[in-house]
Subunit: 218 residues, 2 copies
């Protein structure tokens, strides 16, 4: 069981990466690994790894390292992967379809239960056996199906309206791909994927690297 | 001009958000704004905003606040948006197509010059007047066209191979959507969008919120 201490968002954001690397080690039949070896693969320092994992309990053993399967399963528990999550996607454009087709999410326990759009050309088409429904049915659907996570892939102008429907119908998690910040009550959790912010971070870093190169004459 | 101090990645990651909010203010003809008002909109504290922006120079004026257009343009410069970037997308599946269709990137100065895939069903099809080419042409294309940013939207098994081609051909920025970490030389900048890590962060936070709710009996 995780200790109930306050874990910083920076640590939380690193956990899925640990989970991914440990999963790869498991598939390669690696049974145990030192924080040093894990550090070499994952690109964090060994002391960072020990510090991160200490937040959640005493996983490592001095001189033995980490038991890969145990650590993988424990991080899975911490990440909430011992249960499943029902999801719906609203907005069946390219991003919505990409998410709908990404079967890896199913393997992690995220089950897609419905896809909604307002475009008559898309309504009625199936993605992975799920028929795209009219977004006018969303509220009714949410009342009749327990949905844990609502995924917003509509243009930014419509995003808040969809978020309001989710909130009204008791959906507690929102994965937001619209390039806008949503306003929701405190007990609803929003995780944003803002693609232009990621691209602008890249252009900043590129630009910075070139300024630096110019300065040092390299 | 930005001062050449070392800016933390946390600050850099917030800049695109400032840029987005300031752009919206400009479109609404707002001429100036205090750090307090900006804080109310953007959801950071006023002191955080002042501290972040002080990294790059003295933008604010006591008692006047920030000149919105000036701040917008200065942050644009810092983000490297006074120039344009040529990009190519490799992998024309759903994510690749979503990125290709996202015209907002063009407005920011990111010009898509080529799309590549290995699927014969996709080769020859056009997205926004750009014909999808055989990925076998990628290296040749990169030798004949100056490309600043390579966008990787292929499955993880092929991602490193594509990154190696980018590196070999002098592409200095990589925007990576494949769920794997790329190994590149120091002077190449990689910005990752790892969707499952974002989804697992959401499930962690949902799970945590529910544990907490259980504990306090709310």
């Amino acid at each position: 069981m995780p200790k109930k201490t306050i874990i910083s968002m920076a640590v939380i954001k690193r956990l899925p990466k640990y989970y991914r690397y440990l999963g790869e080690l498991l598939r390669n039949d690696v049974e145990r690994i030192s924080s040093k070896e894990l550090a070499d693969r994952i690109g964090f320092t060994a002391s960072q790894i020990r510090q991160d994992l200490n937040n959640f309990g005493d996983f490592g053993q001095q001189g033995y390292g980490y038991n890969v399967r145990f650590l993988y399963e424990e991080i899975g528990k911490i990440l909430g992967l011992t249960r499943t999550y029902n999801t719906v996607i609203v907005g069946a454009g390219n991003i919505g379809q990409a998410i709908a087709n990404y079967t890896n999410f199913e393997k992690l326990g995220f089950h897609l239960k419905g896809i909604f759009d307002r475009n008559p050309k898309l309504i009625g088409i199936s993605i992975r056996d799920i028929v795209i429904q009219d977004v006018d049915n969303l509220e009714n659907f949410l009342k009749n199906n327990h949905i844990d996570i609502g995924i917003i892939c509509v243009p930014k102008e419509q995003a808040q309206k969809i978020a309001d429907i989710f909130v009204r119908c008791g959906v507690k998690g929102i994965w937001n791909f619209a390039p806008t910040d949503l306003s929701v009550p405190e007990d609803v959790i929003v995780e944003n994927v803002h693609l232009s912010e990621s691209l602008l971070t890249l252009s900043y870093r590129l630009n910075e690297a070139e300024l630096f190169k110019g300065k040092t004459g390299r």
